[in-house]
């Protein structure tokens, strides 16, 4: 018993155990609903790994999730629950698209401009949450959720304004070619480009059939930068001190309000960066009216929680999500099971992540009694 308790104290073991339990729970639910669990897992695996383009799509799908995961995880490290990541992402998408559509610069300037716009917009929107908390003490969960809805309707409203709307469609124009971050995007659309790529085995297929873009690389870099920030800099030290014990932080002269605001600005910027890369890297490269949340931010919550709030962990956790969400489509196709089981699976994994925190303590409490009279 005690060996299990000790093992579970390590974060990586805990998370792997939670993922395993979550998948097992999903298998049980599928079995009850009449679908073969083994075949379902196999179908899931097939949907993720069996073709290079599948793997590429998983990576592409996980990229925005890594960003929103980072946006949540970073805030978590300093004690803030950034549920508003969804809204920050939406605003980032909106701002990036508007700039990408209206400004016409060569790629080498256009792309950085769009990315910076996305970061700025996300930062500003996240900053609202930070300000509301620092100045008025409003809890970031409530303000985040409210701002998410405000962002949704704001985006819908703006993208349909005559100034930005494209004709009769329910959205904006597409971001110009110069602003897109696809790998060899323009070239692969030409006749000769396509011909060359058809001959190259794995990577040719990936480039031709998927929206392979530079987003993943930047996501990994961002995670590394945030990890270094937290571990090795003065700012990271202060942010974590505030997150763990704001009273002690105050006692050594750290300005708590300033820190709260700074954290939300950074988190918002990360979400906004992810949004900009999402728009520039994935077709259709535009913003349309949404009837409901796309879920980037909501899934980002799950990504961060399963990553244990570690920035590097978000990379893997984001990939896990990407795999589940993308591969989940194969479930319907191969086994006939509703893809919504994936939603349940994700929720269950998060649930087990939460519970497993408390298991070592429980094991020790009951294990100790069984040990008997040692002295």
């Amino acid at each position: 018993m005690n060996k299990i308790a000790d093992a579970l104290k390590k974060p990586v073991i805990r998370i792997l155990a939670a993922i395993l339990l979550g998948l097992m729970a999903a298998g049980v639910i599928l079995a009850i609903a009449g679908y073969p669990p083994a075949a379902s897992i196999a179908a899931l695996g097939k949907g993720i790994f069996s073709k290079p383009k599948y793997i590429s799509n998983v990576i592409i799908k996980s990229t925005p999730l890594i960003f929103t995961g980072l946006a949540v995880a970073f805030a978590f490290k300093t004690g803030l629950f950034n549920i508003g990541a969804e809204g920050q992402f939406i605003i980032g998408c909106l701002a990036s698209t508007l700039v990408g559509v209206t400004v016409k610069l060569p790629a080498v300037l256009q792309i950085p401009l769009i990315l910076i716009t996305g970061m700025a917009a996300g930062a500003a929107y996240g900053g609202i949450i930070g300000l509301l908390k620092a100045k008025f003490g409003i809890h970031e969960v409530i303000s985040g959720i409210m701002l998410n809805w405000i962002a949704l309707y704001l985006s819908n409203y703006v993208c349909m304004l005559p100034a930005f709307r494209k004709g009769d469609t329910n959205g904006t124009d597409q971001v110009s070619e110069a602003g897109r971050t696809l790998i060899l995007g323009a070239w692969k659309k030409t006749g000769e480009g396509a011909a060359v790529l058809k001959k190259i085995p794995v990577f040719g297929e990936i480039l031709l059939k998927t929206d392979a873009n530079i987003g993943f690389v930047i996501a990994v870099l961002t995670a590394v930068v945030l990890a270094i920030l937290l571990k090795n800099t003065i700012k990271g030290f202060e942010l974590q001190a505030v997150g763990y014990n704001k009273y002690a932080a105050e006692a050594v002269g750290i300005n708590i309000r300033k820190n709260i605001l700074e954290v939300m600005l950074i988190a918002g910027a990360v979400a906004g960066l992810g949004a900009a890369l999402y728009i520039t890297g994935n077709s259709p490269h535009k913003v349309t009216v949404l009837s409901a949340f796309e879920g980037m931010g909501t899934n980002g919550l799950g990504v961060a929680l399963i990553a244990g709030s570690s920035p590097i962990g978000c990379i893997f956790s984001g990939l896990l999500f990407g795999g589940l969400l993308y591969g989940g489509q194969a479930l319907q196709y191969e086994v006939g099971a509703p893809t919504e089981i994936i939603n349940i699976t994700i929720g269950t994994i998060v649930f087990f992540v939460a519970i497993i925190q408390g298991v070592p303590k429980l094991l020790e409490k009951y294990g100790g009694r069984r040990k008997g009279h040692a002295e």
Partner: protein, 511 residues
Amino acid sequence: MKTISKEYAVQMHGITKKFGTFCALKNVELNVRAGTIHSLLGENGAGKSTLMNVLYGLYQADEGEIYLNGEKVKIKSPSDAIDLGIGMVHQHFMLVERFTVLQNIILGEEKLSRTGILDMKKAKREVEEIAERYGLSIDLDAKICDITVGMQQRVEIIKALYRGANLLILDEPTAVLTPQEIQELIKIMKNLVESGKSIIIITHKLKEIKAASDICTVICRGRYIDTVKVKDVNENQLAALMVGHDVKLVVEKEKAEPGEAVLEVEDLVVDNERGIEAVKGLNLQVRRGEIVGIAGIDGNGQKEFIEALSGFIKARSGVIRMNGREIQNTVPETVLESGISIIPEDRHKRGLVLEFSVIENAVLNKYRKEPFSNRGFLKKAEMEKFAAGLIEECDVRPADCAMTQAGNLSGGNQQKLIIGREVSNDPDLLVAVQPTRGLDVGAIESVHKTLIRERDKGKAILLVSFELDEIMNVSDTIAVIYDGKIQAVYEQGTVDENELGLIMAGGKQHE
């Protein structure tokens, strides 16, 4: 082991209690004769509270038996204890602050009307009757957060009596009382005993044991040591029993030679968090090479004074000058830069980040400066070196604790870490608020030695404590705070405890 007999209100025999691998109590004996006041003496962490928690049903012993009035009993929960006539007044009061006195007293034993709703009128009548019977006057409709600590203790006592307690357990009852209130409590206890109740007091205060109790049982590190008739022993003997070796009860120090004033406070006025004046024109001076001790009962403005001094809250008016520079109404950073280091009252709240490692806590107020950081990046090697030095110098245990979370250290070691860290700042003024709270005798001695050593180096020391003995032993100058003002200032040795107690409670100086 004593024979089981009806003469004893309670007998605990062979009690052993473990928490995981830690053995809190081993084979402990306790025999309390009915109608006596029995004290349970031991250091912090000796196991006295644990033993009483077993008696009250909050914990179950792993081994051992309990007998009440000669009958063997099983106490599995506080409800059982209450049903058996045991009442407990905890050291940290178990009172709901937002409720009224009456609500707290009847909680769990409510009187219901025929329709099933609360019958507060009936409850009030019954409680008033009990209060009168035992001579405990109290305002039943006041909210707990609005009454004094002494009154709150009364509420706890009435709570126990309302449930028909015959055996009362009082856990460190005098920790929060003035000398006068302590006398009143002793009178109440003797009254209760005369009405046939039995009382157990848990304490580490030797003076109160002598003054209040008939018999004393000593516990040390979870083991039963001895039971003595109080009138047959003196304080030094009791202390030796408690600690296991001879103990110096008086602090040794040279006479102070104070220099110029380092801290000057003039007419300071500070509001508390509810907007009411708590510091009402405080004047104080602390000089180099001097320890000034502020004696006073909790709640007379000490908290607000220190918070204003630290820069956490604003003063309404008045001046705080440090080395000639005004520092009131600035920020904590400015206060720290002016040469002040503070050992906070609540080490878990203000003193440490429990989730940070010992190394990180060691540099908690230094990480911004060379050599611990450079251009925004932390220099981990330098941090580790500094922490290692601190751990060794201050004897923080265990010796290899550098990477462990500060929350895993014992209270005493946490305090050593904090004091070492603050002293290493080489401040001009060292402020120590309740620095020995919760520490055992050895650690207390070491803290006092540190304060005196710093004083001898020429530092100014400001000591705030609710332990009158500590103030009287350690300070060179004693300032008494009452009602938000310094009412009187004395040189050490020129005033006795009774006079101090009087001023602390609002009386006037004897001329």
